[in-house]
Symmetry: C2
Subunit: 383 residues, 2 copies
């Protein structure tokens, strides 16, 4: 790392703590003045009233070096926009004109990260799988399946490391030995939820655990809403597996839609309160209904390259028969043979056409002719 790079990283570490994300005025200042100069101006209090409102409370609190060391101790690092691995493309959605996002949303100032992966590579082919914490067995099963198959298909599975759907999706991806990324709403030195400490370590080993909050940051509720925009932005599409009528997952879905991402929802029993949010998303045309990982891949994948294989449709031996041939075939009981004259009344087909229909049905291997009349060759009793 050159001294210039170290200075940049130090400045962004300071800036990532000095304001509560999203901090649109600070982001504007960084963009105008550059991070090093912006950090100097903020420290000195030589900023506009808007920037001051965002930074006044913490500007004297420069812990950049401590934070960088703390994360290094965890085996992590600070990834900054000046790095080659910065997922710049994923974050263009925050500046795309017309994206109906919260007008305070901005790309993060920097990302604290633990993980083996490279952020830009992880974001290149990524799908978010999110949902309720108090998930059902059904929901966790589906999330794990989706996580597994998407990871196996080369997608990084993005989620929030919460109990329930999030955890199941991460675990599915880990089971496939694929990549998965947890976006946290607190500092990387905290495990949230605490019960997922081991899971978070495994996620870091396979992909990345990231956060825009510096070490020590605690998971206040409003941070989850802010964090959700990063999950949505990081992935090409967001799948909601289970969600109550009011839920963080629906908010992530709204964020994804606002950022121009594909939003998908997995249906479930209408008797389950945990599927109400998914069904609402579909009914309100905010999400596409998806039932299989292949449909997710089709929705977010490269056009033409990632079409979901069609469901195999069971074929019946009578497929393709015109209505008259079908009527003659149907008029023949499964067991006892019939003469053409007997088939006339039950089929409603005139005798001369019954006579021409029978050889056609025989050619198709559906009927045969014996000494006691015509009979079905393929037994087909089910109506």
């Amino acid at each position: 790392m050159t001294p210039g790079q170290r200075e940049l990283r130090r400045a962004r570490a300071y800036l990532s703590r000095v304001a509560e994300p999203p901090a649109p005025a600070l982001c504007e200042l960084i963009s105008d003045a550059g991070p090093v100069r912006a950090a100097q101006l903020v420290t000195a209090g030589q900023v506009s009233a808007r920037v001051a409102a965002e930074t006044a409370a913490r500007r004297a609190d420069d812990r950049a070096e401590t934070d960088l060391s703390a994360v290094a101790t965890l085996g992590g690092r600070l990834v900054i926009p000046e790095d080659a691995e910065w997922p710049a493309e994923a974050f263009t959605c925050f500046t795309t004109p017309g994206a109906q996002a919260d007008d305070r949303w901005r790309a993060p100032v920097a990302l604290w990260m633990r993980g083996a992966g490279r952020l830009d590579e992880l974001a290149e082919r990524a799908v978010a799988v999110v949902g309720a914490r108090a998930a059902t067995g059904y929901g966790e099963h589906v999330a794990a399946e989706f996580g597994y198959e998407l990871a196996e298909g080369g997608f990084a599975v993005i989620s929030g490391a919460a109990f329930g759907i999030d955890g199941a999706a991460h675990r599915g991806a880990l089971a496939a030995e694929g990549s998965t990324v947890a976006v946290q709403a607190c500092g990387l030195d905290r495990a949230y939820p605490a019960g997922h400490q081991r899971l978070l370590d495994r996620i870091a080993g396979s992909g990345a655990v990231i956060s825009e909050y510096p070490p020590g940051g605690w998971p206040a509720r409003h941070r989850f809403l802010v964090r959700n925009r990063l999950i949505a932005a990081f992935a090409a599409g967001t799948v909601v597996v289970e969600a109550g009528v009011r839920s963080g997952a629906r908010r992530t879905a709204a964020a994804a839609a606002a950022l121009g991402r594909v939003v998908m929802a997995v249906p479930g029993p209408v008797t389950s309160a945990l599927s109400v949010g998914c069904h609402l998303l579909v009914r309100e045309e905010q999400a596409v209904l998806v039932t299989r990982p292949a449909e997710v891949v089709e929705a977010v994948g490269r056009i033409g390259a990632d079409l979901a294989p069609l469901l195999s449709v069971p074929r019946r031996c009578t497929d393709g028969l015109n209505p008259e041939l079908l009527a003659v075939y149907e008029a023949m009981p499964a067991r006892s043979p019939r003469h053409p004259e007997q088939l006339v009344r039950d089929s409603g087909v005139p005798l001369h056409r019954v006579r021409s229909a029978l050889p056609l049905l025989e050619l198709q291997g559906l009927v045969g002719c014996g000494t006691s009349g015509w009979h079905r060759v393929v037994p087909d009793g089910a109506l």
Copy 2:
């Protein structure tokens, strides 16, 4: 009944047996020449080649009187287009230009009927509930609920009296002491399925069992496809509760769509093969996803009069707080009181704004001030 009415009914009884529905050429002849003259021409064989193709096999078989007596013995009757109770409005869909129906489809020549109801009244406010025979417990539960609530809401519940979803929908309507109509693909003297004999009797007692097939007609498979158009036409909308990837219910749905009716599908677990058809209907935009009877009523009901009540959304005490007030509130732990200075760092809000936020939060009853600082009034631990 006048002699003229008796003659009309006799003619239509003959015509309802002489051709296998749908018989577009015969329908055209009846429309042109009237039913009495059409019956004479068909009997005499003085018809076009197209009509002959439809009627030649059975034209000598005049059982009109026997059929009428047989149905009278069952407590039924033949309802004909010349009757006041003919559901003419329901069947206009067969002649509406632009309806993408099978071009051979026509309104029935007449309808054999057992039942206490009047057909026109039953059709006036009717919803079809259809689905798989090999339904799951979930599907039958949902069908029964929908049948019950729709019937209670004054809708006639239309279905096909099959095992599984159909039967559950009929039973739900019967449990609500509402009206329900079974459309059969065989003569009324047969119970199909045989195990539903008692159910069919109860349906006739509450609404109607109808068929376009004369007594003795047997339920050939092609007749189910033809019958499905009547279920679809009779109802303002069709709800598919469970359906495999290939199923009669999906065909009824396609028929309903072709006839300009509202098609709805109930989602289910993606792990259930019996919900695949429903999900496909939604994914292919052939059906609206519905989760509650109220949503069905909204979709088929009178505009403005039948809106589904909104789902009640749980309210949180922090609803409506702006991000800054929320950040200050969130920065306050659930238990221990805080001084404004302590709230500055965790909320990221400058001191002077924390000081103005606290009285606002107090006005909303969210926080209070004691001797040891500010504290939350409403405990709200869940994230």
